[in-house]
Symmetry: C2
Subunit: 397 residues, 2 copies
């Protein structure tokens, strides 16, 4: 009696698998600053919480498989402000971005097919690919040049008859890279030339710093037949626990097929959709304040990291992660050591080992992903602990 | 640029695909009694709704991938009352029963592997199997004998080296069949003999009529290594929109692998778990009242159906569905006709064509599934419309 090969193969989340160490650390009375997971500390908008407080239906019923109509209309409003004109049939509400990614992969790729994705990439793409029995073909990008997208020839060298899509995360988790309009055009053109889809994960759309602008794949009408957008409210409204995302495409065949996948699981959570809908109508000021706050957090973490001898990183331009290459052999070992063996005045720091964000084996072993999702006072303390812990780890290993 | 084969193959939900017809009917001002979908009209417990109203965290955050600890403890209490002794590591909270089924399939079966399931079965098993690229091997059961489980030899004739599990739904959707303790033992013994898993979908556990008792696969300790339970709060607490389920097994390898799948999608909805947790502590009286109500609804629908000339059905013993074989060639055609062309005093009825609940092609074409999820006054009206509509359909086709 054996489990399936995919059950054996699927990776344990590098973001979450070390949580038992953190729990033990806390059980010993030590405070852990969690920089390992993208759980923002920004309060969830009160407009959203109010929806939970005011739910007044007698029966908490199923919604439509494609999402509640009121929320589809809300999303039309949200994307409309970005210059993306949609109708309800272009949108299917999903249970978080996770489900949107899974649906996108399954709709374009069969078991054994391939999707090209620049690495390091959001580690859970690995899990979704294992579930869908598809292969991720990684194209490596590098901290040293800010994880810039490789040349067309590098993408095209990976394209085979089994290649069904190129998938980008923009802004990038874990890289913080923001792709320019030219980048998006370039990749979309490769997709068009080879007749494959472009899956764009834009859940960090608003988290853009230094006055840069974000380009959505849906802002380029000439590629709309090729474009599949996956999105989520988790980060932008600090509502990770709501589990509301969506998949958006102007390609009717894609949407008709996605709807069948959506029907199988009946619907996304009902009240959470209503709550997410309240966020759609927040004033732009909401994002301005949030981005200002995150940019200053980024500056703090980046300045601290580059001041540590031997640490290599580039200043991220978006999202709220930074990849740091450390002057040690095994970053996971260091994370465990920080939890199990280190403390400063009863406090320590947890980061995510970056190896799991790469598909190419051997890469990322000496890298960490840090999420700058704490207020600056806590972040400052955490980075101080990180610096001293790293120094001591190097001394003792 | 083509979609994946599974995107083309996945079935449109027979429960939901005709919804556009229903919408058009409503747009014409005609009331539709929905007997097509298992959406109970019983009010969601106020204890549950209260949790939404009182949510007071500042940040709607991720929970653990395995579910909130407080809710795992609640489930330990719930299953404990059924004589099933669990620890937290035996339980992973899922986004509804749908995700639990998907995880169970993927953990035991690779692409191309097979799972045996008595048909007619919950139609969305088809969708989940297509997503997971596995084959459902159907073993046909019949309305004429109450959808009794076939003999061991019939199960064993289907077992090949690719067979990874037998999956039962008990009580059955759409059959209403309740398997006896002997039935469960018998199937579990087949699984043990052949070294395959037994996946038991028990989301209708409390919906048992005529004084029968339900046997959970987890109530049989000697098979616990083989047993995987999938469950959901949707029906038992009239909370379909909460999307909270769970997967339960005493097999540590199964749970360790399932946790990795769960980590990939991060977590189930947070507030909905807290809300579901309130239901766990409802007094037993809650279920007594509910079951009494559903049993009388069943009696009403069954008595109406058997009084219609040419209709064949057996009295279901559990769940809240009934399969009726009609004296017509194409039940889907009849459902569409009832929506598009029939009305009685501005009202009509929608049922689910049963063909999609079968894997064997050609079966179920003349059958419908009716969900008796309305109050008896509405059910009485709906059955009257159904009877008259069917008579007129037969006259005109």
């Amino acid at each position: 009696m054996k489990l399936s090969q995919r059950a054996l193969n699927i990776q344990a989340s590098p973001i979450r698998k070390l949580m038992p160490h953190a729990q033990n650390t806390k059980n010993r009375g030590i405070k852990v600053y969690h920089l390992n997971i993208g759980q923002p500390d920004i309060p969830t908008p009160s407009e959203m919480i109010k929806v939970y407080h005011e739910f007044s239906e007698k029966v908490l019923a199923y919604g439509p498989s494609q999402g509640l109509e009121v929320y589809q209309q809300g999303l039309i409003h949200y994307y409309g402000k970005l210059g993306i004109s949609l109708s309800a049939q272009d949108i299917i509400v999903t249970t978080a971005g996770s489900e949107a990614i899974t649906f996108a992969m399954m709709v374009v790729a069969n078991e054994g097919d391939e999707i090209i994705v620049p690495e390091p990439f959001y580690t859970n793409y690995n899990g979704f690919a294992t579930m869908a029995s598809i292969q991720l073909k990684a194209i490596t990008t590098y901290a040293e040049n800010g994880f810039a997208l490789p040349a067309d020839t590098e993408f095209e060298a990976l394209i085979t008859p089994k290649t069904k899509a190129i998938m980008l995360c923009n802004p990038g988790n874990p890289t913080g890279a923001v792709y320019s309009k030219e980048d998006i055009f370039r990749v979309a053109n490769i997709c068009k030339k080879h007749g494959i889809f472009m899956i764009s994960d834009e859940v960090y759309r608003e988290f853009i710093y230094d006055g840069l602008t974000h380009t959505s794949v849906l802002q380029i009408p000439e590629f709309s037949e090729y474009a599949i957008l996956v999105d989520s409210v988790s980060k932008r409204y600090s509502a990770c626990g709501a589990r509301i995302g969506c998949i958006v495409s102007k390609n009717n065949e894609i949407m008709a097929a996605t709807l069948k996948f959506a029907q199988a699981r009946l619907c996304p959570p009902t009240i959470d959709q209503l709550a997410a809908n309240a966020c759609v109508y927040l004033p732009d000021e909401y994002f301005h304040e949030m981005v200002t706050e995150y940019q200053s957090r980024r500056d703090l973490v980046y300045d601290e990291l580059v001041s540590i001898p031997g640490v290599i990183c580039k200043k991220p331009q978006g999202a709220f992660y930074i990849i740091a290459k450390l002057p040690i052999a095994n970053a996971e070992d260091f994370v465990i050591w920080m939890l199990d063996n280190y403390q400063m005045n009863g406090e320590t720091v947890m980061a995510a080992p970056a190896e799991g964000f790469y598909a190419s084996s051997g890469l990322g072993k000496d890298e960490l992903r840090l999420a700058y999702i704490l207020n600056k006072e806590d972040l400052g303390k955490a980075m101080n602990i990180f610096r001293e812990g790293l120094a001591q780890y190097i001394k003792t290993h």
